[in-house]
Amino acid sequence: MTMTTKGGSVPTPKVDLQGVIKRFGDLQVLNGIDLQISSGEVCCLIGPSGSGKSTLLRMVNGLLLTDEGRVYVDGTLMGFREEGNDLIGITSPQLARQRRNIGMVFQRFNLFPHLTALDNVTIGPIKLLQMNRKKAENKAQELLAQVGLSARASYYPNELSGGQQQRIAIARALAMDPSVMLFDEPTSALDPELVGEVLSVIKSLAADGMTMLVVTHEISFAREVADTVVFMDQGKIVEKGPPEQILTRPQSGRTQDFLARATEAR
């Protein structure tokens, strides 16, 4: 895989959020988000609980649709078809197709419990990309090796530790050959001693040049792998910039408070 030079001239961003607004009933959860992520960029999203980080992530792959504003991934408008100035919702199968090149990893892993680790990884390529079983299984074995779990192919999720399950979940997402990977607090549900093994898989993806949006509370991880850190509060982006700037010399008082509490908790 190729490394994209950071800060190089990138014409169209991989992920492009323009004035995104999301409401749940009367509650406005995202208040106009503008965010661009370029190819090969690792963007870490931090912020207090309830600030809308998970909601933002779900808008990127169309699990939730915008009430106002637009989300583009690889230049494709998510969830809608543009007709003049109007946006017309696309059908569920069309939306499902849009999601196929966006990988997502959840806080609670969400592996399919009735399938083995191998079948969890092959189900996407076989059912959605019409790949033949042999080829899909070879590829799945490669991915399991990449996350260090070759020996666990025939295990069911409940026979694996949380860290192992999360690594299988990463392999499942990678099996679709995504152009962007989304992570929603991938280590928050893990025992402390299992956090490292998951973070190191994500780090190696970053080194391979994968474009990633990672919601995390692991400040030192963000400092190490992020190209950009975004601090969110109350449905707004408060600041964004390179990790040294946001994590070391934050401008906003809210960012300072959050970081003080986050590092205190360590």
């Binding site: 990988g103 997502m104 399919f112 419990p113 009735h114 959605l128 295990y155 069911y156």
Partner: protein
């Protein structure tokens, strides 16, 4: 390491363990129940009115077996149609159309709220309501008209009544199963890019685990409920027994004959339920024949 612990536990277990002594009341209760059961057993064996000889004579008779066959056929048919229809109503209830939801709710309330016996009688007498059945387009042209009494035989009436009722119960069971699956599973399937129908393919096997126990209960209930069709003269197991005792006046022995079959098949279904439950718990309980369902790492798994 775990092996060491197990070994030390096993070798340390040289002393005998005994349960704590029972209280006095337990002994009294055991004595009372034993005496009661013995008395009952004596009566069952010696009281000639049980008519065990008559039971033995009829239990495998062609007439009773024919009734049994009809009861089983009715149960299977109603269960199959009821499950399919139940799936449809369940999908309507969890759909995002308010109209479909309301229709499904009304259906379920209607068919669960009226005694099944009345529903059976109603469908048997449907000709009084609609003497003719018109096949055509609502408010539009008619293609053909049929005499209701010809079309709705007692068997058809029984199937319709039991199935419509079954659909209402199965819809609730299936819906419970679908809602019982963790919402993260729907999200994971959707995030992979699965269209709704394929998402259902991932969710259903998980829902089945939740659906099986109540469905097995429902199957047993339906099997016994088929006895209601005896009121419309359909020769099921119960009605066949009734026809025989109407002739030979051996009421109790023939009711026992029918009950023995009901009991035998219910027990069989109970057993089947436990087998199915085991089969579908795959991936939900650790397999016992596994080498190491633990977090220990082989060197290859340790990441740098």
């Amino acid at each position: 390491m775990t092996a060491d612990i197990q070994e030390s536990v096993q070798t340390g277990q040289t002393d005998k363990r005994k349960p704590p002594p029972r209280g006095k009341m337990t002994y009294v209760a055991i004595a009372v129940v034993t005496i009661g059961l013995l008395g009952l057993a004596q009566d069952v064996v010696t009281n000639p009115n049980f008519g065990w000889r008559v039971v033995a004579q009829y239990v495998f008779s062609g007439y009773i077996l024919k009734g049994l066959t009809l009861t089983i056929a009715l149960t299977v048919l109603v269960m199959l149609l009821g499950t399919l229809g139940g799936l449809v109503i369940a999908m309507m209830r969890i759909s995002n159309s308010v109209f479909l939801k309301i229709v499904a709710n009304c259906y379920i309330n209607l068919f669960r709220g009226i005694p099944l016996l009345i529903q059976v009688l109603f469908w048997f007498n449907i000709a009084a309501l609609f003497p003719n059945i018109r096949i055509g387009i609502p408010f539009g042209p008619t293609f053909s008209e049929l005499d209701t009494n010809m079309l709705v035989t007692p068997f058809i009436a029984a199937v319709i009544a039991l199935t419509l009722n079954e659909i209402a119960y199965m819809a609730e069971i299936i819906r419970g199963g679908l809602l019982g699956v963790d919402s993260g599973q729907y999200e994971a399937a959707e995030a992979l890019g699965m269209p709704p129908r394929m998402t259902l393919n991932v969710i259903l096997p998980q829902a089945i685990r939740i659906i099986i126990p109540p469905t097995a209960n429902q199957l047993i209930t339906t099997f016994k409920n088929t006895a209601l069709v005896s009121v419309i003269g359909l020769a099921d197991l119960l009605h066949s027994a009734q026809i025989v005792y109407a002739i030979n006046y051996q009421t109790i022995p023939l009711l026992i004959t029918a009950s023995l079959w009901y009991l035998l098949l219910s027990s069989l279904l109970n057993w089947l339920q436990s087998v199915l439950e085991k089969r579908y718990s795959k991936g939900f309980q650790p397999r016992t024949n596994r080498r190491k369902p633990s977090t220990d790492k082989t060197p290859e798994e340790t990441l740098v």
